[in-house]
Symmetry: C2
Subunit: 443 residues, 2 copies
């Protein structure tokens, strides 16, 4: 995700209390931590799609995908507390929870994907996929998109160009442009993407590196939210397999019904991955993640043991099961589709009014709105996007931005987001974009 | 940890229900998961130092260090549930919990160690230490002990020889023998260890590899529990620093008061590490971990951002704070010292009776008991150790084993372990060792 909207000292007037909290953070947590917004938000309570600050002010959450079924969902919290009072141990004793959860989770996958291994974070899930891909293929080459983010472990940071100049990509890593239909009008996006993967494979081979995997976020979140046309991944998946590599779908962001039409982002493209990593929304905030695999992928890897102390424990499993039940019982996938469609339509209407909107895209409740200075040249409106994100924050609406120029609004609310919430958000967007138009015209 | 006691099909008669659970595990979780014991335990409830199986039978937990302040400690569960109902979000908004927790945690460290970064697992904490050590030193060489376990991410598995033949150590990794006073009687253990580190550094250099770090578990848990003599790490720490590397103390197992005399294992050796990783006991089962660092270590690294979605969230911070308060309020460190001493004395008395006990060692409630076939030759009693661990399980006492020959009983109960618990455990140990003696004499 872009950090253009990160807090920097001196850019905004803060209260004494806010300054004190920030000073404590720097003293205690050190220099690697970042805060959102010019004027950071001090959140003390969450409920559904709402967050509340220390002054009791309410913020509409249009950004956080971790509390995917809503902040502090009572059914999820009840499952957490019930199990935490009874038992929390590990997977080297027998326990039903991990099995009941694994069964329900795997039932949402195509039949080829039969095993799940549990970790605590998406980074760990991708790291495990990395280990398995190398073991399975004997290769070491990885292909990712130009602005991918897949996690923070050493080898996964090396596969995460969005971390920027201070983190070096590995020598064994090649990047390809994300499949951007907006900036490649009239092109066959799937072929374009597959051709770039082909070129990356060729370049790995020229350097004597055997390809291990193509790893992509199936909605290309940090690249700028690209999901269209449906099916675009199919050719690239064939290409990596023909080269002896495997296809890893990173569902940490699109997964768990967010894209509306499907439980998993890869389903939109009619492909069946070799491995699927998942994380953030899996426990509605509880630290849990996992990797779903085809059995042949782990037949060799399984000879070494894999143990994750907290992964798949009875509490995490109870929480994960409750999240799946809430998605089902509250029809959150259908809601993501309906409200996402409504929100997308509303954004298109705003586009007719505000020339800064160059493109509206996405699927379900994962929408990217690309801001440009000129619709003909598509010049990225980087500064204006930061202005919009910060202006929305001042109006107590939380979103962020993505993409190489940080000019793509990343709209990704908790799934119980209602049409009313969408309309409220659209009305505030209208105001904020209006102020931007005026500024653009007067400058 | 040794997996000699892992379940293997056909070694023990199991109930239809147990077999069904095991079949489901294999089908759903795949081949990389392992179960403890010839006859796996099906645990359904935990309370303090006790675990209960599906038939309502009670097991004394003499092994699990994750539920360090006791299984399902009500104060910890209350803190978890209270905060989970209010807010669970991330560190890019301001929140007091992470600061209050960081402050209390850092207060237990020497003044040189001033920042803490939060992760979800010990593997992630060590992986972060790896990244920081490389960035800080410009080196890539790592030195670990011969049977170390530091975690499961790709780069940390490469530093974990205890994972066995199926996981390759990195080319940039050198191993040194753990500081084993039992098998090196009369030697200066600290110098011996430091000399081995010196040799490892020399060998790295011969191969053109600049040393980055010496990484050790400060009680050498999976190597077989070595803590004596106090101070033994001091010379090795000087050696790695003189070579331009840093010293990373892995406190995932010894940390949080377990060794009785100190909150952290490294304090026993009078050294101040450059980084300290921690995990398992930190949240009494809740998935949380962290890395404490000297500020100069992250001055460069901090230019890149580090973000861990769940790490340091308000719920984890509330849980971590409650664990620290329980350790303090219930005097658990003093209890570890007193009961650990009592248990060690009892083991020494058993040693006078049972020749299989070659050595009793450790600190606080982390005790290693090495079983040998012959006290003169110190031949490891590998099979007998597995027999003891499985016999204890049949008598509903849970422990495990460690060391290169899996002949060291690993005794590591939750910290509220009482003298009565210790006496009960000792009486069962007496029986089990007695049966072993008889078998040894009749075979």
């Amino acid at each position: 995700m872009s950090m253009t909207n990160a807090y920097e000292p001196g850019r905004a007037e803060l209260s004494a209390e806010e300054n004190a909290l920030i000073a404590r953070r720097e003293r205690l947590l050190g220099p690697a931590y970042r805060l959102f917004y010019e004027r950071p938000v001090h959140i003390v309570r969450g409920d559904g799609v709402w967050l509340y600050d220390a002054d009791g002010q309410r913020y509409l959450d249009v950004y956080n995908n971790v509390p995917s079924v809503g902040h502090c969902h009572p059914r999820v919290v009840d499952a957490l507390c019930r199990q935490a009072r009874i038992l929390n141990t590990h997977t080297r004793y027998l326990h039903e929870n991990v099995l009941n959860y694994a069964e329900k989770l795997l039932a949402t996958f195509p039949e080829e994907l039969v095993h799940v291994m549990f970790t605590c974070t998406g980074s760990e899930a991708n790291d495990l996929a990395y280990r398995i891909a190398r073991r399975r293929t004997g290769g070491t080459g990885f292909i990712v998109t130009e602005l991918a983010y897949h996690g923070g472990t050493h080898v996964i940071a090396e596969l995460s160009p969005s971390l920027g100049e201070h983190v070096q990509l590995g020598d064994h890593v090649r990047t390809v442009p994300a499949p951007d239909a907006y900036r490649n009008p009239g092109r066959d996006i799937g072929s374009l993407f597959a051709n770039n993967v082909r070129r990356a494979i060729d370049d790995l081979r020229v350097h004597g590196i055997k390809p291990a995997a193509l790893l992509v976020d199936t909605i290309f979140s940090s690249d700028g939210v690209f999901g269209d046309p449906a099916g675009l991944l199919a050719e690239a998946v064939e290409v990596i397999r023909a080269a002896g590599g495997v296809f890893i779908a990173d569902e940490v962001q699109p997964g768990f019904g967010r894209t509306g039409a499907h439980m998993w982002g890869f389903q939109r493209h009619g492909v069946v991955p070799d491995m699927v990593s998942m994380g953030k929304p899996m426990g509605d905030g509880h630290p849990m993640a996992g990797l779903v695999v085809r059995p042949e992928l782990v037949s060799e890897f399984g000879k070494s043991r894999y143990f994750n102390t907290f992964g798949g424990n009875p509490v995490s499993s109870a929480v994960g099961l409750a999240v799946l039940e809430v998605i089902e019982n509250e029809g959150l996938m259908a809601n993501a589709r309906a409200v996402g469609g409504h929100l997308g339509d509303g954004m298109q209407r705003l586009a007719a009014k505000h020339s800064a909107i160059g493109d509206v895209r996405g699927s379900g409740l994962f929408i990217g709105v690309e801001l440009v200075r000129d619709r003909a040249t598509k010049q990225p409106a980087t500064a204006e996007t930061a202005q919009v994100v910060n202006a929305l924050r001042e109006k107590r609406v939380l979103i962020s931005s993505a993409g190489p120029h940080a000019n793509i609004l990343k709209i990704r609310p908790p799934l119980p987001f209602s049409k009313d919430n969408a309309d409220f958000f659209l009305s505030i967007m209208d105001e904020v974009l209006g102020a931007l138009d005026i500024q653009q015209h007067t400058v």
